[in-house]
Amino acid sequence: MNEDEALSREARSVWLAHPEGLHARPAIQLTKLAKQFQAHVWVGVSEDGPWTNAKSIARVLAMKTPTQTKLYFTAEGDDAPNAVDALVQLVRSDFKSVSDDGK
């Protein structure tokens, strides 16, 4: 699947295949990773937003994203490209890699 085509400089999409959707466990990993960056990081389910603060577990959960959804990430700040890379990588690996490939 050609999931990570670039939408703009910092917004990219990735296919969410985790069977639970973006529920507690994956959402915790996602927000933890997002918090490692200085940049503001947002997640959405459409390229036009609405955008959700990817550092807030409460907000990310409230999206109630089911499995088989295309997720979009965008960021703003010094390390924005790295942040988006890392998050896309996390989702693509089906949340198995909370590795340091985002550094």
Binding site: H23, A24, R25, A27, I28, T31, K32, N53, S56, I57, A58, R59, L61, A62, K64
Partner: protein, 549 residues
């Protein structure tokens, strides 16, 4: 007791008994009184207090996580830690504190809003998260107030500011009891305590409880005895033995039909909250069910629209009664019993507002669903449908025409049903005064609300309890008038308020001619015993009233 620790002096605290009984056990303070009584700090101090509590709660959870080997438990704990680290979750509490709330008020209120959002979600997964949110809320609150984790061993003597009914139901009360600093005799938790025979006092004096480990709760005289000395322990044991004898006497009466010392048969019915209490009760111990409070069964809008669920619940109650009469009250929401999205919010005086049948007639579709379920249940036995908060005859006429239309529709659809008897709850003084104007098949006197409306005393106010004495003449005269009218015209009349379960009131009710009482399940034996000791007053109904006037 032990040589190493200094013995704490006995301390006696007074309160109002709301559910009689004696209990002795380990003291458990559920909420530090500081929770509401401590001096509020500056917003900066309150914010620092909450910040500390959040940190402590996160550390507690991290400790728990380190100790657990169960992946699911770990995930639940990780979720709570992540939520507590999220500013989106915590910021509203800090904003509330900035506006003047205490740390616990700010936290509790902001969590309530978020819990509600989860609780109302359609997605089952999200709804389940509400339980996690409550867990977090309470963990942080315990940290704010410095209270130990609230695992309550069975049979404890619990001291709390107040107890939400749901919390009450979670606790194993076997042999224990509760003393509340707030609360009132008519709060729901007091009713639950009476229904389940859990000794309870409310409005208790406050005092520091540090150092006290054991307590005796005397919910006969309204007293909590902390660190009881030898004399208090001996007295407790003696009285407990006497109470056991009395219980044995009650148990003997429980299985027998109620008959006065003069040989008159009195019907003793039972009040039912949500039907779950029926499992433990032998139908032979009562003459039927005098009140089913359907607002305790129907808590959400989904329940209100679910005819099948209602029908099954009502049918099960009919089957339990096995041919004895069952009176089911139509939805009595409003007042202190809100249903989100159904009751009217923000009324200045909800007890005098849109509640009971007033509310039902604003939602004819909801009432019709309930009437359909009731008419179908009526096919399973003698069912009586009681309409609450009726003020004028037209309200009853309105409900009757809806009921008739409902039964006719069911018959057309060939759905098994029967026309239940339709009667009214007599609780608005206007009805008691003009009882002859109502074309009802039976009357059930709701003494709790009748007393509150006749004496102009709010049920919630513990301070007005002297004015609300059920034995004062105004209330008794109204009851007498209703019973007289009913007796003359051969209309069934019963009384289903707390008065009927109060052995102090039973002789007065028999004096005014009442021969049918509907009581709390825990009071069945006691009330039957009181009836068995009763001799018909020679001078008729006015006797006791004159004495108490």
């Amino acid at each position: 007791m032990t040589g190493s620790s200094r013995k704490t002096a006995t301390l006696r605290l007074n309160g109002t008994p709301v559910s009689a009984g004696l209990a002795r056990g380990a003291l458990v303070v559920l909420e530090e009184r500081a929770h509401t009584r401590r001096d509020r700090g500056s917003p900066q101090q309150e914010a620092a207090l909450l910040e500390r509590a959040l940190n402590d709660a996160r550390n507690d959870l991290a400790d728990l996580m380190a100790r657990t080997e169960d992946a699911d438990a770990e995930a639940i704990l990780a979720f709570q830690v992540a939520m507590l680290e999220d500013e989106v979750v915590t910021a509203p509490a800090f904003s509330a504190i900035e506006r003047g709330a205490s740390a616990e008020e700010g936290w509790r209120q902001s969590m309530e809003i978020q819990i509600k959002e989860y609780h109302e979600a359609e997605d089952l997964y999200f709804r389940a998260r509400a339980a996690d949110m409550r867990d977090m809320r309470d963990r942080v609150l315990r940290r704010v107030t410095g209270t130990a984790a609230a695992a309550v061993p069975a049979g404890s003597i619990i001291v709390a500011t107040d107890l939400p009914p749901s919390r009450f139901l979670e606790i194993d009360w076997d042999g224990g009891g509760a003393a509340l600093l707030e609360g009132s005799p008519n709060s729901h938790v007091s009713m639950l305590a009476r229904a389940r025979g859990v000794p309870m006092i409310v409005g208790m004096e406050s005092a520091p409880l540090d150092g006290h480990g054991e307590a005796i709760l005397d919910a006969e005289n309204g007293m909590l005895v902390l660190s009881p000395d030898r004399a208090a322990t001996v007295e407790f044991t003696t009285r407990q033995q006497a109470a056991e004898l009395a219980r044995a006497e009650e148990a003997r009466h429980l299985a027998l039909p109620a008959v006065t010392a003069s040989g008159e048969r009195v019907q003793v019915l039972m009040n039912v909250a949500d039907g779950s209490e029926l499992e433990k009760i032998d139908p032979q111990h009562c003459d039927g069910i005098g009140l089913v409070r359907t607002e305790l069964l129907l808590r959400t809008q989904d329940d209100l629209a679910d005819e099948e669920k209602q029908y099954n619940t009502y049918r099960r109650i009919m089957e339990w009664a096995g041919g004895k009469p069952v009176t089911i009250r139509t939805l009595d929401a409003g007042g202190d019993k809100p249903i989100p999205g159904y009751t009217v919010d923000g009324e200045a005086n909800p007890f005098l507002g849109v509640r009971g049948v007033r509310l039902s007639l604003l939602h004819p579709e909801v009432l019709t669903t309930q009437l359909r379920a009731l008419a179908r249940a009526a096919a399973h036995g003698p069912l009586k449908v009681m309409v609450p908060m009726v003020t004028g005859p037209r309200e009853l006429d309105h409900v009757r025409s809806l009921l008739e239309a409902t039964v006719s529709n069911l018959r057309h659809a060939r759905i098994p049903c029967a026309m239940p008897a339709l009667g009214i709850m007599v609780e608005v003084p206007a009805v008691a005064v003009t009882i002859d104007l109502f074309d009802a098949e039976f009357y059930s006197i709701g003494s709790n609300d009748l007393i509150q409306y006749v004496t102009a005393c709010s049920r919630d106010s513990g301070r007005l309890s002297a004015l609300q004495d059920p034995l004062q003449p105004a209330v008794l005269r109204l009851i007498h008038k209703v019973v007289d009218h009913a007796t003359k015209h051969g209309i069934d009349v019963s009384l289903c308020g707390d008065m009927a379960s109060d052995v102090r009131c039973v002789p007065a009710l028999l004096d005014v001619g009442l021969r049918c009482l509907s009581v709390a399940p825990a009071a069945l034996g006691r009330v039957k015993g009181s009836i068995a000791r009763y001799k018909t007053a020679v001078t008729g109904g006015q006797a006791r009233e004159t004495r108490s006037a």
